[in-house]
Amino acid sequence: MSAGLPAAGLGGALYLLLVVWMLLREFSRTTKDLSPERSQWPLIKKMVFVSLAMIVVIIVERLIISNVLKLVVLHIPGLAKFTMPPSTSFVVLMAAMPFVLLLLLIACLHCLRLSRRLSKAHSRFAWREASEAILSGR
């Protein structure tokens, strides 16, 4: 079961970014270690190809929908109020939204990790203080 919307939700943005990260990591690894048997390039090339194809499909799909809507309005002018084309800034905002949300989510995860570590450290410190107080008879 795929939880969420794999292509349109944050999942889509996450896996696209992971493919970019794979690419960067492998470039860096290749420059350091040239052993071909550990190469991940075949997988990375495939994933980059699939991801690029997905991006192309998004663009083509948007073009098709807007052209179909234009055609519909041409033949049925009454539908014009439902087919107002969104402004470019709105489109850019919507495209950027998953990535912004994803970065916020990742930032929240790291804040949560940090706060857990701090509270752990704090509780260890408090425990040590208390045991020292007991041992010293305070």
């Binding site: 795929s2 889509g12 994933m47 990742i106 995860l109």
Partner: protein, 360 residues
Amino acid sequence: MLQVLERAGHAENRISKSSPGDSGITVIVPAYNEAASLADTIDSLLNQTLPPSEIIVVDDGSTDGTGDVARDLGVTVRRPPKNTGSKAGAQTYALPFVNTTFCIAIDADTVLAPDAIERLFEAMRNPDVAAASGYVLPRYVKSVWERGRYVEYLFSFAYFKPIQDHFERPLISSGCFSIYRTEVLRNIGGWSNRTMAEDMDLTWTLYAAGWKVRFVPEAVCYPIEPHNFFFLGCQLRRWSHGFIQNVMLHWHDVLEQPYLRTYVAVMLWDAIVMGSLLLFALPVLTLLVNPLFLLGYVIDVPIIAVPVLLEGLKRREFRRALRSLPAYPVIRVVNMASLLKAFWLELVTKQTLKVYEKGH
């Protein structure tokens, strides 16, 4: 939980990470009333290019002659004194009878490609790997639910899983066909039935104990997926509750696992936020604002289609993949509803799912 992890941590230090192949593989097949499908499963196990040393069928209180089917095929049958109540219980019951370094768990409705065990076994050559799972494809692709699941699997196993594996954190070692180091399994107490998704629980426990888990796309298995809405509902209820239960149980450890924490957080976000959007906001917006909001239900199908059709082409199943695509938005709505309901019941009303319902 802490005890389990502590034990697992000690185990990691204690176990000599043995090299594979020194004492063979045992296959555990948990079965409850699986007489109709078990023979195919055992046949596919007996015809492997790397045959297992022993096949143990756990006849978990079946009443349809499951044990007789297994005995007739010459495999070991173990029957617990009473029904263990879950797949995890049946598998763990068999664990003390395993005498090999590696063991495989496979569902009684799953058949394997002839070289599946050999391919899967390759992953265990790395002594740091405690578990590995293969590529899952539905055996029958006829009903809308099977078609939807087929698209989901093609998408996940062709796109998500290889990326997760590249970062050494596959989300889950699928319960329907996975290989494990027996000693590691014993040391963490086998498969736990504290959640409804014992495979996810086990995978995340292994990560917390410092072990690696791999995904092997060349090892293909074919389970029978739910063919009707009733069985699908049972399976999805178990998976959805299992996912939420595992997040609640393991979130401290998951937070410390790079990549895994992000997949899990994103899954939760998409399940709750995007699920609410799909199930509640889109119908309201369609009715009150603009009928074009209906496009929201299918807008990403062409994007999903890219890896699905490419994978279909590679597997020479292009037409099947193409014909199955329209089922995907349908099963997705059902997935979303199941996840949102599980989220509500587990976290808000605290009605934890405790009874294992067989989905298929």
